[in-house]
Symmetry: C2
Subunit: 148 residues, 2 copies
Amino acid sequence: MRSSSKLRCVAALALLALLPAAHADDKDVIDYRQHIMNTLNEQAAALGQILSASVPDDNVIAHLDAIALTASTALKAFMSKVPGGEAKPDVWANWADFSKRMNDFARMTAEMAKTAHEHGKDAGLANVVDALSCKSCHDTYRKEKPKQ
Amino acid sequence: MRSSSKLRCVAALALLALLPAAHADDKDVIDYRQHIMNTLNEQAAALGQILSASVPDDNVIAHLDAIALTASTALKAFMSKVPGGEAKPDVWANWADFSKRMNDFARMTAEMAKTAHEHGKDAGLANVVDALSCKSCHDTYRKEKPKQ
């Protein structure tokens, strides 16, 4: 690791200690929640490849864990009312519905991961269709991706 | 959830049961490992935003867990010798070095997550520079992203 990188990271850590309640600009808020949602997309896509038997299923439980873990952070990433990116303003206009769906998503993916740990991956995957209700929520709350 | 989606998923699950040792085509192998590495990129970027204090640090431990979990799956995603995507052929030509680096990455990120759980997020982050040695490995083993 080059010392300049190390210095930058040490400086960032020092900044973190100084600013426990960081003020997030709008772009930061949007970028951050996109990192969360992109993580979910990537992990769901990996799981989809396994479900369609196009790759081996060794990592199923790790994918279920990663999805559950990331789902548990997702609602928090939308707490700041900052429309933009792919989030429709309806996210905040219908916050009670949106947050209920996100909490259901976190709860059901956590149950799916727990089942996989306790009873094996096939048992965990048995509820994948209900737990990963991505499409229904995206149809309501996500805009078309802006053209690059 | 529409019944057609449900049917597709049930069919996929049935296929999974029938084909426990799926044969992955080259494109599938490359897509899969990219989902893993993209997950790491997204989670590291989210953590970077927290380190630079541009967003609040509520989710630090979840990010460290997600990185450790995904790191634990990464080497397996490169086991099939399929050059392509952003992976240089050196990954397989220098497999002993590559796999050592990936195993170190998995071990160090797991330790970082464990420290955060036991001693708090700041303690976990103290080793972030050494644990996230992404750049040094990418400089050696990753090609420039192909132009879209």
